[in-house]
């Protein structure tokens, strides 16, 4: 789960990580009110302010989502220009993201920009700190062009953070001597934040050295571990549903694992690996998958019914391929669910069901005997081909 820059900065503030002062607005009238009443703007005429669109994607600057001004009176106008705007960046996909919130912050006098990040590194199986002298650039780009300008340091979970870790990053970055204590503390605070909040990714890009030799997190990106949300109540408050696909929000209510794609053959599968493979097979058979959908191990009739409703609320869907290999979920239970759901939900596109595994023969027989318009398949590729063919014929 990702959060906005302004939320990440607020959390950083709670951990004494230095961030610029700012204010979040989600309407022009709020911006007008803020410049009149918020202490940030009082007596600050002529100072630099950054007005930043808040979306869950990087590359906002290039897409026109960040504006700089010295005229406080212009801020509401800039906010008006950003709110509602659709930003297309390399991380949003071609459809872009609509701006619903804007963060206005005091400008910083930048002397040099650095990169500081943290991730769970699957290779070392530890939390890793990543530092680079190339702040303000995409770290992936730096990794390709100048890998020697990136420093990785993994943290031993039994040791935790120690000042020597911060000092190694400090010397790598070549920061001025007087910033050593504050930098070492900043890294320590970041490590503490990462662990206490179950983050999965943190990025300060850029971390800025100001003209008066202080350090400031000029941007902040935080992702949380979805598996740890149960013990991080704050994530409930921070989640911005406007940033998520409405179908995916609906899916999460029913514990369905759903990712919307661009194709027209919907699939419903038990198990994430098989769900991915089913998408791949649909593509191999000449079709295009409309979604990833893992109905999980404990799929009940209700779950299957919700899955159908979900799939069918995507207007692009022209056919459905249900692919179940029964392990925990026995096939006759799935078949029962499919029959009950198909009776309740109006399925107006071709439906192909492929059942295999525990009690598959019984499940298939139940489907055939149901009197419903379901095409039954035994093998994976056979099922995908049937679905592709049905969609090509134009369905019912």
């Amino acid at each position: 789960m990702n959060i906005h820059e302004y939320q990440a900065k607020e959390l950083f503030g709670q951990y004494q990580i230095p961030v610029p002062k700012g204010v979040m607005v989600d309407s022009v009238s709020e911006a007008e009110k803020a410049i009149k009443t918020h202490p940030l703007f009082q007596g600050a005429n002529g100072q630099v302010f950054a007005v930043k669109a808040q979306i869950h994607a990087g590359g906002r600057g290039k897409a026109g989502g960040v504006k700089i001004t010295k005229e406080i009176s212009q801020i509401p106008e800039i906010v008006a220009g950003l709110l509602g705007k659709v930003l297309v960046t390399h991380q949003t996909g071609p459809e872009g993201r609509q701006v619903g919130k804007v963060w206005i912050e005091e400008g910083s006098r930048i002397e040099k920009e650095f990169y500081l990040g943290m991730v769970v590194d699957r290779n070392s199986r530890r939390v890793s700190l990543i530092a680079s002298t190339e702040g303000g650039m995409e770290i992936e780009e730096v990794a390709q062009k100048h890998p020697e300008r990136i420093f990785h340091l993994s943290i031993d979970p039994c040791e935790g953070y120690s000042a020597h870790i911060g000092r190694r990053l400090f010397y790598f970055l070549g920061l001025p001597a007087e910033t050593q204590p504050s930098f070492v503390k900043l890294v320590g605070d970041l490590v503490r934040f990462f662990h206490e909040k179950d983050a999965s990714m943190v990025e300060i890009n850029p971390l800025v050295l100001t003209a008066d030799k202080t350090l400031v997190a000029l941007d902040a990106k935080v992702g949380f571990d979805d598996n740890a949300i149960y013990r991080q109540p704050i994530t409930k408050v921070l989640r911005d549903l406007a940033e998520e696909n409405p179908l995916e929000i609906e899916a999460s209510k029913y514990n369905l694992n759903y990712v919307k794609l661009d194709g027209n053959i919907a699939c419903m599968v038990n198990g994430a690996g098989l769900a991915m493979a089913t998408m791949d097979v649909i593509a191999l058979a000449g079709g295009s998958p409309a979604n990833f959908l893992d109905v999980g191990g404990g799929a009940s009739k209700d779950t299957v019914e919700q899955a159908f409703r979900l799939i069918l609320s995507d207007p692009h869907v022209k056919g459905i391929f249900v692919n179940i290999f029964g392990g925990i979920v026995r096939c006759e239970r799935i078949a029962g669910g499919i029959i009950a759901a198909a009776q309740d939900v109006k399925i107006n596109v071709p439906l192909v069901v492929r059942l295999q595994g525990t009690n598959a023969a019984e499940g298939r027989e139940m489907l055939r005997a149901s009197g419903l318009d379901i095409e039954v398949a035994e093998e994976l590729f056979e099922g995908a081909e049937k679905a592709v063919l049905a969609v090509k014929k134009g369905g019912k």
């Binding site: 939390v127 992936e140 979970p157 039994c158 791949d280 191990g297 392990g327 295999q356």
Partner: protein
Amino acid sequence: MSILVDRSTKVIVQGITGKEGSYHAGACRDYGTHVVGGVTPGKGGTTHEGFPVWNSVHEAVEAENPDVSLIFVPPAFAADAVLESIAAEIPLIVCITEGIPVLDMVRVRRLLDAKNDEGSVIRLIGPNCPGIITPDGAKIGIMPGYIHKRGKVGVVSRSGTLTYEAVWQLTQLGLGESTCVGIGGDPVRGLNFIDVLALFENDPETEAVVMIGEIGGEDEEKAAAFAKCHMKKPVVGFIAGQTAPPGRRMGHAGAIVSGGQGTAKDKMKALEGMGVTVVQNPSMIGQTVLEVLKRS
């Protein structure tokens, strides 16, 4: 022969009185696995579905000295359950639980490595995996037993149901499986592809290996490099997620293409470059193994 488990393997189930633990302890026993009992704190001394229950893994070790602990404990308590089995020096720990916070697993893996550095030999399979099965020997996990047939192909996979798919094909073609290991879909886990490939290479019964990977990380690439240098037996590989969009987690916590790294295309290319026979169509896994075995 087979790897890691066979008919003589003694198994306890942590979380045996829970819904999943209870069902699968019974299903494993029905398959013929030597399940000697289970652990649920607070229910020690009772009997559950005919299984003796202990309060702790240590008590179970004193009573039965099991070879394997199969874990069905909910995510919030699963890391502790694995650590308990590590402390009790259970040689093989199989953790089925899905949804364990990754920082918990970072800690578990670190402590497991430390224990092994001190001279213990403790292996962890999972978490977020279907378990391990040696057909006609021991089923220690949640896979449907009847789709398996004892034979000559070793299977190692990050997926659950997709593994069943491959196994089904191997069984239908009469090849059968020596042992199938689901290493799990989480980014930080116990045994990895390389560890299991090494075991299969040394198992006389295994003649070929099927490796089923998916998007995210570089474990498949590392495994292919290992196979090229250290294996004589042929490896057939499939990578799920050719159509997965970047930056999205596809169900499994570890199945995500991030920063352009870990795509199915790159993995397949790397595998081919290392001499692994890569299957594009998952329906063809069994058939490909058959052809590869004919050739070798």
